[in-house]
Structures are given as structure tokens and as C-alpha cells.
């Protein structure tokens, strides 16, 4: 499997391949968000981050996006005073109409609200929009930070199944999730973080049953 993303830092060695869904687990403060932000270039990391074998170094975030990394932050952060359509198209590279049609097919809820202002959407709709916006940039690697935060279980399921569709099309997906059960239900592999280091890794099925998980959050 070709590695899309490789991260190498003290105590942190991870890789994500094309079409895989990999999840980062861990309590708050474990370092999940920091890691995702570092991959996107918003923060520094004492180590190497390689995309498709090429080291990113100090490439600024906007260029990392053009190289193929999409980012869906914690708290969604859509552009509040732009419409759904504008939010999506402003992120497009070219072939905007076809790409837009693709995304709207993936997220039918958005198609119904194309002309609405993003700031007035519900939490779930904003999450879809944030993901759609990131996807409009045609990423080969999609980073998601806490996609289920504040969403009802049904919406979470909807979001997670979309992720499966996205991965099926060849995109690598790396997400940080506090809600381990949701994440492990859809992920192929998982890494458990604690204090910025990876303490456990493996196929999702294995980790679901691993007592280390409960211990990581509530252990003594």
C-alpha cells in the first residue's frame, strides 16, 4: 500500500495509506489536534512530515493544501457570511461545476441549502459543509479534527458513512476523535495518543477490545 502520509517524530511514528481511514484516539490534551495542525502546517513539529514521500519542511499551509492535504478543523469554522455554494466554490481548483456536483451528491443535505448563509446552518450541516469544502480542494489526504463533536448520534453516523465513501474513492483519511466508539466503528486502523506520544496502535478491531483504551481515559 502506498503511504500517502508519513510522520516521524520522537514517540510519534505513523503512516496513512491511500483509501485508508486511520483514527487518532486519546483524551484531551493528548496531542491529537496539535498533530493534525502540524501536518497542515499551522504548528511546528520536532520531526519529519512526508506527503507522498516528499518532506514538507516549512511549507506554508496554503501550499500544503495545493499539494493535496485537506483540513477540516475542530469546530467546523465555515465562512459564516458566505453561502453554502460560495463556501464550496471558493475552495475549488478548476472544473468547479463538475466538482461541485460531485460534492452535492455526496452531501444531499447541502444541496437543499445551497443559497443559505453558512453561519445559519445547523451543527450537522456545517460539519458536512466543512468536509465538502475541504473535499473541493481535491485532497489526497483529508484531515478531520473531532468531526462528531456536538453532533447527534444519527448525524455522526451519517458523517462517518460519508467518510467511508470518500476513502473508497482513494483519499487517505486521518481523523482525531475523542469518541472512540464512533471512530473505531469506521476506521481501519487506530493510534492511541498520550501526552503527545503514540502508546498503542493497530487494526481498529483489535483496539476496540483493548483494555488499554479505557485505561488511557480513566485508568489509574
Amino acid at each position: 500500500m502506498t503511504a500517502r502520509l508519513e510522520v516521524e517524530a520522537p514517540g510519534l511514528k505513523l503512516r496513512v495509506g491511500a483509501g485508508e481511514i486511520v483514527t487518532l484516539l486519546g483524551a484531551n490534551g493528548a496531542g491529537k489536534t496539535t498533530l493534525l495542525r502540524a501536518i497542515m502546517g499551522f504548528e511546528a513539529l520536532a520531526g519529519r512530515i512526508c506527503l507522498d514521500g516528499r518532506e514538507l519542511g516549512s511549507t506554508p499551509p496554503f501550499r500544503r493544501n495545493r499539494l493535496g492535504i485537506g483540513y477540516c478543523p475542530e469546530g467546523r469554522r465555515v465562512f459564516p457570511r458566505m453561502t453554502v455554494r460560495e463556501n464550496l466554490i471558493v475552495a475549488a481548483r478548476s472544473r468547479a461545476p463538475t466538482r461541485l456536483a460531485d460534492i452535492l451528491e455526496l452531501f444531499p443535505a447541502l444541496a437543499a441549502r445551497e443559497r443559505a448563509l453558512a453561519g445559519q446552518l445547523s451543527g450537522g450541516e456545517q460539519q458536512m459543509l466543512a468536509m465538502g469544502r475541504a473535499l473541493m480542494t481535491e485532497p489526497r489526504l483529508l484531515l478531520l479534527d473531532e468531526p462528531s463533536l456536538g453532533l447527534s448520534p444519527q448525524l455522526t453516523n451519517a458523517v462517518m458513512s460519508r467518510l467511508r465513501d470518500i476513502a473508497a474513492r482513494g483519499t487517505a483519511v486521518l481523523m482525531a476523535e475523542q469518541n472512540a466508539a464512533n471512530a473505531l466503528a469506521v476506521a481501519d486502523r487506530a493510534y492511541l495518543l498520550r501526552l503527545g506520544q503514540i502508546v498503542r496502535e493497530g487494526p481498529a478491531a483489535e483496539l476496540r477490545a483493548d483494555p488499554a483504551l479505557e485505561e488511557a481515559f480513566l485508568g489509574g
Binding site: A27, N28, G29, A30, E146, L149, G150, P153, Q154, T156, N157, M160, Q178, N179, A180, A181, N182, A183, A185, V186, L195, L213, E214, F217, L218, G219, G220
Partner: protein, 577 residues
């Protein structure tokens, strides 16, 4: 590092001061004497401006207006009313301060850009009023024939005697400013400027400090204006125009906004440079702007700041840490618990807290846990006055804490640390802690530093006392923040993720220190995600989820509580994967 970087400049500054004092003796013309006197007037103006612009860090654009107001007040009272110098001098100051007090109410609370532009508007109004209200102010022509200074019935002629008088006042003003800057007030202003969220939580009333700084700056400006008009003999609306304000700003920035010596440097430079470059006339004004720009970009603490840093680089010296001194035993007025009762808080549509109730008793360590977004930090912010609550209350004894300002709550004995460390980066560790001792009225800066030293020792951070905080590692900074919290001699300490980013060793040390607090009878409430850290430490755990308490009890009980487990690990999805 140097606790006081200017100390390295003492020798050169002393030489400069002597040179400055002797310089007028070689003046040959009345013009030279007047120019030197004028420089003194500007030094006073800039000293005043340093309070609001340098120490508080607010861009006030009324300094020129207060100056002009003082000048006009003196002129009008002297020429129309025949009042004496001492009377008009005092009144000019009083009028400037009165105006400052009047506009402080709407304007001081404004955020930076609103404040700057609102003060500019006020200055413009004053200018327009002066131009138009001819019967009082002489209109566009101003007022001339302002008599010179008459003291104790004897005229003080222009030239040397006036110079000496003006400069005596300048020296007094500088001495006052120096005392303020070097004492605890100077440190306190620093914290208000660079760590405003923390200022209230260590007992600093930032609102009152800002007001005091604003009034002081107006007083100095009024005095400067009163002297200005006596030296020049006339006043015109020019004195209220924006260029005067810009000159004051430029002098302050170029000299050094927080150093008394900077006021002298800036004033002299910008009074004398035009004289020396007279042939370049129109162009030196462009150089003014360029100089101001270069300064703010490259040397934001002005010439004096750059000089201090240069001196430190060439001949590095470190200050010796003071001898530690124990803090006096605090009286414990109330031994009541801290009670959270039905606390409700929403942010927009999001319900952060939906009726949280529990209490923290003295001599306990309580851990507050819960997944992200459950409202824990909001709860601490409400208890320490940084946020208001929409319903319910936080009580301490028979005092209601909710609704009080942060500094009032700190003075009642509630201290806290922050999730994202909130220290004044450019100050030393020692000074960051020492400033929190200012809430004890009897303490001066030496005692505060000695006591801070003791606190740092008890937390094992004594070696870092003299280092600049922003250069210190994360774990050490957390300890400094804790020392600062303890400096207010609290009964309750609220810690927000104190173990975040600490190594195992540091965590063990911290746990030990928290246990010591418990032994001394304090109560500790800590937010943490780090379960191993909490397990051996907390007497009780409280778990929040989506703004409600879902579990309380001993650590073992809470960790086995199925609702708690579900909250952290998530419900498994209803629809099969």
C-alpha cells in the same frame, strides 16, 4: 537576566544627566535658553504620556488636547482674569484632569481601535471649539500677551530663571514617574498590559489602574501646557492640532515608552534635531515619520531599550536573586466551603452549563473531569469572575462571588491558574510572582520580591527566578503560575490542567506540592484529563458531561461509573458499522 535592564545604564545616564545640567551654562543667547526650556516642557508632556501609552499600552490621542487645554486655561485666566502663576498652574492641571475624568467614562472601556479613534475625535472637537469660540479663546488668532511667571510677588524673568523653574518642575515630575515605574505599580502595569486576563485574578483592579494612568497623563500634560504658554507668551489653536500629538507620540516611541530616561532622550532629540537640520527644513519632517516607523518596527522599546539591550549584550550581568522571606501568616476570615449552586451558562445557542451544583471544602482536593466541551473551564471562569453566569450562583461563606469583578474575588481568597499559561513573558519569573503580592497593602517591591523568592523555592523553581519567563520550559512556567496563584495567599486554588505537558517527574513533584497545600488547610479544585495524575491525588472526583454533573465520589467509584465511561468512550453506534 537583569531584573531591571536600565540598571546597566546607570553610569552613562548619570554622566548624561550631569552634562545636561551643565549645558545651559554655555548658552549665549536668549533663544538657546528658551529652546532648552521648551525641551523641558516636552519632557513633562512625554512623561505624562508614558503612563497611558507606555505603561497601560493604550493609544490615547488626547495628550495633545490636554496640553492645549492647559495652555489655554492658563492664558485665559491670566490675561482675562489676571490670576497669578501658581493659581493658573494648579487650575490648568485641574481642568485637564477634570476633562480626562469626564471622557474616561465612555472612552476608557473601549477596545483599542475604538479608544484611539474616540480620543482623536475628542481632540478634534476641542480644536474646533477653540477656533470658533472667539470671545473666549481669541479664535484663530489665539491669545497673546500672556504674562511671564510671577512667584511670591517677584517676577521670574525669561531666560535662566524661567529655565530653572521649569526644569525644577520637570525634575519633580520625573522623580514621581520614576518612583511609580520602579515600584510594584510598574510591574502591575506590565501585567495589565501583557497578561490582561491574569491581572484581575491576582487582585489587580485594571480599570482603576487605567483610569489613574489616564488622569496622571492629563495632569502632566496640563502642567506642561501651563508652562508652555508662560514661556512663549502666546497661545493659538496650533497647540491643539494633530502635529503636536504626533510629536508627543514620536518622542515617546523613539525615546522609550516605559523609561523615564526615554522621555528625556525623545524630547531632546526631537526638539534639537530640527534645529540642527534647519536647512533641510521641509524634509526633516518626513524623516520624523520615517524615524518613527523604523523605531516601532525595529526597536519597539525605543532608544533607551535598545541601549539597555546593547549594554547587556556587550557586558552581560545578572542580578543576584534576593534572600527569600516567608510570607506573613494570613488571617483566615472564613472557613466555609466554595459552593457552586445550579450554575447555568449559555454561549449563543450552546448550553455550556446546565445547572451544575457541588461544593469544595477546605482541606480537600477535588478533581473535575469530563470530555471536551463539558464546561469545566467555563465553571472556573465563572468562579473567578472572568465570565458571568446566566443562572445560579457561586458562594463562599455568605458572599456571593458571581457578579463580582475578578480582582474582588481574588482578594477574597480565590486564586487560579490557566489552561494556556498566562504570564507576562518579558518579566522575570520572580517579578511575575512578586506582582501578585501587591494586593497586600503593606508590601513594597523589595519585600514582594523576597517573598516571591520564598514561594519559588517551595515549588522548586528557585533556580529560574531571575530568568525571563518566556524563555523557560513549559513545565517550569506552570510552576511559576502556581507560585503566583499562591502569592495572593488564597484559601481556594482552582487549577486548570496544571499537569498538561509535564513529564512524569514533574507531575510527581506537582502532586506533592498540591498535597502540601491540602495539609495547610487550603482547598484545591483541579481540572484534569490526566487520570493517573488524579488517581493518587484527589479525594473526590466530579465528572461533567454536556454541562451536567453525571458522577461524583471517590476516584474508584467515579471511574467505574458506567455513565462516566460512556461519556468518555462514546456510545457504540446504533446502526451497525
Amino acid at each position: 537576566m537583569r531584573i531591571d535592564p536600565s540598571r546597566g545604564l546607570r553610569a552613562p545616564l548619570a554622566v548624561a544627566a550631569i552634562g545636561l545640567a551643565l549645558w545651559p551654562s554655555v548658552f549665549s543667547s536668549a533663544y538657546d535658553l528658551r529652546l532648552f526650556t521648551l525641551a523641558g516642557v516636552y519632557v513633562l508632556l512625554v512623561l505624562g504620556y508614558q503612563f497611558i501609552f507606555g505603561h497601560v499600552g493604550a493609544l490615547s490621542l488626547t495628550q495633545g488636547a490636554f496640553f492645549g487645554l492647559g495652555a489655554y486655561a492658563s492664558a485665559i485666566l491670566a490675561v482675562r482674569g489676571g490670576w497669578s502663576f501658581s493659581e493658573t498652574f494648579v487650575l490648568s492641571i485641574a481642568i485637564a484632569v477634570a476633562l480626562a475624568a469626564l471622557i474616561a467614562i465612555p472612552v476608557l472601556g473601549l477596545e483599542s481601535h475604538y479608544f484611539a479613534l474616540a480620543t482623536l475625535g475628542i481632540a478634534q472637537v476641542l480644536l474646533l471649539v477653540c477656533r470658533e469660540w472667539a470671545p473666549l479663546t481669541g479664535g484663530v488668532n489665539g491669545i497673546s500677551g500672556v504674562p511671564g511667571i510671577v512667584l511670591f510677588g517677584r517676577a521670574v524673568p525669561g531666560g535662566s530663571p524661567s529655565l530653572i523653574l521649569v526644569w525644577s518642575l520637570v525634575v519633580i515630575g520625573a522623580a514621581v514617574a520614576w518612583r511609580i515605574q520602579r515600584g510594584l505599580y510598574g510591574l502591575a502595569f506590565h501585567v495589565v498590559r501583557s497578561a490582561p486576563a491574569a491581572a484581575g485574578t491576582i487582585g489587580l483592579d485594571s480599570g482603576r489602574m487605567r483610569l489613574a494612568a489616564f488622569l496622571l497623563s492629563a495632569a502632566y500634560a496640563g502642567a506642561a501646557g501651563a508652562l508652555f504658554v508662560r514661556v512663549n507668551g502666546i497661545v493659538s489653536p496650533d497647540v491643539l492640532e494633530f502635529p503636536v500629538m504626533v510629536t508627543c507620540l514620536a518622542m515617546t516611541v523613539i525615546g522609550g515608552a516605559t523609561r523615564v530616561a526615554g522621555a528625556f532622550a525623545g524630547a531632546f532629540l526631537l526638539v534639537y534635531l530640527p534645529e540642527w537640520f534647519r536647512p533641510l527644513d521641509k524634509y526633516y519632517l518626513i524623516a520624523y515619520g520615517a524615524g518613527l516607523l523604523v523605531m516601532i518596527v525595529a526597536a519597539p522599546d525605543g532608544l533607551l531599550g535598545a541601549a539597555a539591550r546593547l549594554r547587556q549584550r556587550l557586558m552581560p550581568e545578572t542580578d543576584v536573586a534576593p534572600e527569600p522571606e516567608r510570607l506573613p501568616r494570613p488571617e483566615v476570615p472564613v472557613t466555609a466551603p466554595l459552593i457552586f449552586r445550579d450554575v447555568v451558562k449559555s454561549f449563543g445557542g450552546v448550553k455550556a452549563l446546565q445547572g451544575v451544583s457541588f461544593e469544595v471544602r477546605r482541606g480537600e482536593i477535588v478533581g473535575l473531569i469530563g470530555p471536551n466541551g463539558s464546561g469545566k473551564t467555563t465553571l472556573i471562569n465563572i468562579a473567578t469572575g472572568l465570565e458571568t453566569c446566566d443562572g445560579g450562583a457561586v458562594l463562599y461563606g455568605n458572599q456571593v462571588l458571581t457578579g463580582r469583578a475578578p480582582f474582588a474575588i481574588a482578594r477574597l481568597g480565590i486564586a487560579r491558574t490557566f489552561q494556556n499559561i498566562c504570564l507576562a513573558g518579558e518579566l522575570s519569573a520572580l517579578d511575575n510572582v512578586a506582582v501578585a503580592r501587591s494586593l497586600d497593602p503593606g508590601v513594597d517591591i523589595e519585600t514582594a520580591r523576597a517573598q516571591a523568592m520564598h514561594l519559588l523555592e517551595t515549588l522548586g523553581a528557585a533556580n529560574f527566578a531571575m530568568s525571563q519567563v518566556r524563555a523557560l520550559p513549559h513545565g517550569v512556567q506552570r510552576r511559576i503560575e502556581l507560585a503566583r496563584a499562591l502569592a495572593v495567599q488564597p484559601q481556594f486554588v482552582l487549577l486548570d490542567e496544571p499537569a498538561a505537558g509535564l513529564s512524569e517527574r514533574e507531575q510527581a513533584d506537582l502532586a506533592g506540592q498540591i498535597k502540601t497545600l491540602r495539609t495547610r488547610g487550603l482547598a484545591v479544585l483541579l481540572i484534569e484529563h490526566n487520570m493517573p495524575f488524579l488517581a493518587g491525588l484527589a479525594d473526590r472526583l466530579i465528572c461533567l458531561h454536556e454541562g451536567r454533573v453525571i458522577g461524583q465520589g471517590s476516584p474508584d467509584e467515579v471511574r467505574r461509573n458506567p455513565r462516566v465511561i460512556a461519556a468518555y468512550l462514546g456510545e457504540p453506534p446504533r446502526v451497525p458499522a
